[in-house]
Symmetry: C2
């Protein structure tokens, strides 16, 4: 074609095809013995001016690169520091050293990027997780966070695989929304109005008609209501996206921005809902155990070390891997809220007045109650159903007793509530009555009520907090350590 | 266990296990002939008081339910209206009628939910896409949107599959951010300050230290910079999440909230980047062609009808399926920006002064220019590289000529820019100089510059606008019709 007669620019001549490297995870499988390979990564350690431990993030394990004496000049040797990046070509050989099956006998080493040892923020000593949170990208290079975020990836993939295999449609529900129907807490305002001088109406109130969307808008707290719309056409949908809470909770369990998975299924009752949620959680754990065995082994060890520093009484009975195996291999306990209250009332903890909060039918279960049920009484995940209507959301289906709803919460050891769900109220009159009782304006929710007007069906769904699930699988105690960039009160770095 | 002695609540007795239905997509495969099944869905049509076309969203095709005369009473017959939901039990039999291989001979029909024909918003006639956008859940029940959103699902799954298979880590970059480094346009403010009476500092300016995050925060316009941090540890990462533009653009190509996929790869140069992007786009299309053949055939037909109403000169040369096949089977054209300018200058369109905007080296290519290159000149997707540095972002790698950068845009027929990417500037000094020239405060970006301080490596990445990709594959002309709930200026419904 004529255009090729025009001289090509420099950028096209630069066709070196840089990326012919072999990933270290593949190298360590040992299949390349005897072959010449190119490997690239970052230096973890450099011993005896000869042995470089190189890592590329594909695994926590390093490849040992052997730079025979004389291969590198004096000046280059000094540049091989922790964190420096290298391009190494050489032969894969069986390793004589301990701890690795193969190593690379280097024939050429190119230093791609230096890392000034004087300024490098990490030391060979162990750093606190808090300290690492401030070192955005170096945090990802540590063994702990390497394992955590590879597992997070696997769990996310397993989410999509699980639902795709079952014919669910992945529905992107909106992030910016004008409704606060979920009533799940304080919300973040989204606006393009100037804070210094916002337009006002005659009565002095803000004139949102001049805002970007022509009305007051917020960040979503849940995609459920929009998800229900999808389920009323596709039968089964799921969401997986960010959700937000503007709550001033500085705890190890709360984030202002977190990811949630919310499946919603037409033609499902509360039993179907429980079955799906249980199968889902077990699938996620099983997937990580199959695909991240090394990373889980590392975290299992890490947690065991951490436990040693605790007083005997506070230590977990099961190690991380034991716990995961137990959850996969055993059915979850299923009890009603009424059962739960009775168990608590009969418990030694209650009788010895060890609970801080009161126990009686009608209370919202507190963290201490949930932990007792899960960690002391059943020692396994528990699904609690049939909560009092008064403490649950308007869209949950009223049971025949007229006082409980077909809600279900799944409580997990060490985490507390990991899933919240319900069968939805599909009967228009009952739903309208409930909304009216709870002062939810029906006019604004007309689009939602329409699903009950034109071919309403029994349906159900639940929400799984993704970070809590990652915590559960990785054993990390602080939720800020399982999300790449945590958003919490007064903290929005990077 | 003792707890089971306590009477179980009503909700647990309701263990009917509603969801034993067979999906219509499965039924239509014909494998269940002779079996008794339960099928649930919504009525599309009801003919002769006997033949019900039922749909459950698993496919656009309906199952014909035959209700023999006498099975339903007079009152129930009247309730079988368009949109009503049914639970049907019966035998799968080979169909004698035209248009379907199997049908269900009903032995029981339960009406789950009525649909008042007087109030039902959709008529048998064809509705405009604009009208349907206002009918959130009924829109999903139409053939067009059923096909579009099942394909959207498939494309999303194919995204995850593509990267997972290659060992990329899915990284959730933050939605709320305090940086505006991308400079990609106007942003939405996120705040918990009261608009009526925000706290101010002594000089009258807003006191953001009292805002939720203690500083001014926005919705992200790109996860790239945070993605680079991930790539500097895991080698290869990708993001797939919502991004935002507060631009007042009421066009068929712009949304205020849209989903973007941004892979970022260490040890990749611009060539590797182009190769990956091309393979990625082809994978997505191939996946949809394999998994959504029926839906694509429907949309192909739909587009052909739509084309008929256009003047001959404006019609596409290729049908939807032909276009997709062509893109999958042919390599993308690769040209430099300089080539592109020369082609435009040599074009009949330029010589006849048909372009509205000027053409000369240094201009930002306008939509009309891109369309000429893609639709008239090459008639295929085109990758343009080597753009003038002056019109591109600070992080793009400077070429040796000192005036162009290793950027790449992929232009697609009918859509325009679908991918924007580049090799990143990994050299600290050049990057700092560039930032200083462009007045980007280096102090605030210290976390980003750290990646160039400690083991910097050649790396590259790109962004794919997911909705544009869905448009390309479905042939839908308006971007609002390929996202479940569109957010545009003055529009934030549902």
């Amino acid at each position: 074609m004529a255009v090729w007669l025009i001289p090509v620019a420099a950028s096209l001549i630069f066709a070196a095809m840089f990326n012919k490297r072999t990933k270290i995870k593949v190298l360590l499988s040992g299949e390349q013995i005897g072959q010449e390979v190119t490997v690239m990564g970052w230096v973890r350690t450099f011993r005896n001016n000869q042995f470089i431990a190189l890592n590329d993030g594909s695994t926590n394990n390093n490849i040992q690169v052997v730079a025979e004496l004389g291969l590198l000049g004096e000046a280059d040797l000094k540049r091989i520091t922790t964190g420096a990046s290298l391009k190494v070509t050489g032969e894969v050989v069986a390793s004589l050293g301990k701890g690795q099956a193969v190593e690379v006998k280097a024939t050429a080493i190119e230093i791609l990027g230096d890392s000034d040892a004087e300024k490098y923020p990490l030391q060979p000593k162990k750093h606190s997780l808090e300290f690492l949170r401030e070192k955005a990208h170096l945090r990802f290079r540590t063994n702990t966070f390497g394992a955590v975020f590879r597992i997070r990836h696997s769990l996310a993939f397993a989410v999509h695989q699980f639902f795709n295999d079952r014919g669910f449609v992945y529905l992107h529900t909106p992030i910016i929304t004008s409704s606060d129907a979920e009533g799940a807490g304080e919300m973040f305002r989204v606006t393009t109005l100037p804070l210094e001088n916002p337009p006002t109406q005659e009565d002095g109130s803000i004139d949102f008609s001049e805002d970007f969307f022509g009305k007051s808008t917020n960040l979503t707290v849940s995609g459920q209501l929009e998800g229900e719309l999808g389920a009323m056409a596709f039968s089964e949908i799921y969401t997986f996206g960010p959700t937000f809470r503007a709550e001033n909770s500085n705890t190890t369990r709360h984030l202002a921005e977190f990811w949630m998975i919310e499946p919603e299924m037409a033609f499902h009752d509360i039993e179907d809902n429980m079955n799906l949620a249980e199968a889902f959680i077990q699938h996620l754990i099983r997937y990580a155990m199959e695909h991240n065995a090394e990373d889980l082994a590392f975290l299992d060890q890490r947690l065991a070390e951490e436990e040693k520093s605790k007083p005997q009484a506070e230590r977990s009975e099961l190690g991380l891997l034991e716990k995961l195996r137990f959850v996969v291999e055993n059915k979850f306990e299923r009890i009603t809220y009424t059962d739960a209250i009775n168990i608590l009332l009969e418990s030694p903890a209650y009788k010895k007045k060890k609970f801080k909060y009161e126990v009686s039918w009608g209370i919202d279960l507190q963290s201490e109650h949930e932990r007792y049920l899960v960690e002391k009484h059943f020692k396994k995940p528990v699904i609690v159903t049939g909560y009092p209507a008064a403490i649950k959301a308007f869209y949950m289906r009223m049971n025949d007793d007229g006082k409980t709803v077909a809600a279900m919460d799944i409580l997990a050891p060490g985490i507390g509530e990991i899933v919240g769900g319900s069968q939805r109220e599909e009967r228009l009159e009952i739903l309208e009555k409930r909304m009216s009782d709870m002062h939810i304006p029906a006019e604004e929710m007309s689009w939602y009520l329409d699903t009950r007007r034109f071919g309403t069906v029994p349906h159900a769904g639940f929400g799984l907090g993704f970070e809590r699930m990652v915590q559960f699988v990785t054993g990390m105690g602080n939720i800020r350590d399982v999300i790449p960039f945590a958003r919490t009160p007064k903290n929005c770095e990077f």
